[in-house]
Subunit: 165 residues, 2 copies
DNA sequence: TTCAACTATCTTGACATCAAGACACTTTTC
DNA sequence: GAAAAGTGTCTTGATGTCAAGATAGTTGAA
């Protein structure tokens, strides 16, 4: 089946036959798919009264394991936002009682963000919902295709994730 | 090579061994890669004094071919933003002299957005820069791997692009 | 020990985005 | 041909994000 990127690439080949636009076949699809996924995730989380950004922070802490705490700096690298954004997010989650700020006992500049029991429950519930939705989206692909796709994507993400870029 | 999603998935398997988190192997990579691409694109466009959103609008018009004009509604479906956002974007691009608004001669509610000659040049220059950068990112993959990846991604994007969802 | 360089977090101000709805015009239905 | 339903664009108000810089604390070198 044809998608919007097929149409986009065909248009470029007509308008700019001098250029090789093949890279768009991969990377424009990644960007557009991410945009669709954002919308779908927003809907899925709405059933649990969570915003996508709330889910991102809560689940980062949830994954850290007992006692479910990380520094704001560690949260930055996981969620790919700036420090100002993270301060704001932590403030709002703390107001809602889903996380709390604790002083870092080993560094007086530092802070630790800890999940409250309610925050943990909300994260767990929303994760289950997200996985159900993602399985539906991936229903298009066979198990082996999903594995192939994951491997190819890993080759593109690894350089970003492993250098200080 | 390992990436952040490998670590994320391993953490979930430790914390929630009861859940099948395999969908994250694909879709979390798509979301994170898109985020990295956004940042890289922002840098590439800065050399041409364009914001990513400006590029998106200008190139949509560029691809339309002579006379390089589309309605705001057509621009919406290409760029995946809301109508309020598009109104704002067109305003700013018009102020900068890169596009102009014309009345639609066939529908008095309607408007046509047309690229100015300067807008067209800027779009062409920025596209060349973007393609160079994307080629560098895709250098990790062989030609056949890029083809495979594009095909697998198309299977995921096509349902979004072809239903009114 | 003291000073410079570095690091972690937070503050600030500007700005782009979205959702919801208003408004004007067009198309369909009876 | 008049009313209802539909469509295209713009306005409004709230909000989340970013870049840049401020502040406080830590570390390393001499």
């Amino acid at each position: 089946m044809e998608d919007e990127v097929d149409r986009l690439v065909a248009a470029w080949r007509r308008e700019r036959p001098d250029l090789d636009v093949e890279p768009l076949e991969v990377l424009s699809r990644v960007s557009r798919l991410a945009r669709h996924l954002d919308r779908a995730r927003r809907l899925a989380f709405a059933e649990h009264s969570l915003e996508p950004w709330e889910f991102d922070v809560l689940t980062s802490l949830r994954r850290a394991g007992d006692p479910y705490q990380l520094s704001p700096g560690q949260l930055l690298t996981q969620t790919l936002v700036t420090s100002g954004t993270m301060t704001n997010r932590i403030d709002r989650l703390a107001t809602k009682g889903l996380v709390e700020r604790l002083p870092d006992p080993t560094d007086r500049r530092g802070v630790l963000v800890r999940l409250t029991p309610e925050g943990r429950d909300r994260a767990d519930q929303a994760l289950a919902g997200l996985l159900a939705q993602e399985r539906a989206i991936l229903g298009e692909l066979s198990r082996s295709q999903r594995g192939e796709l994951a491997d190819l994507l890993r080759q593109l993400t690894a350089p970003f994730d492993n250098v200080p870029g």
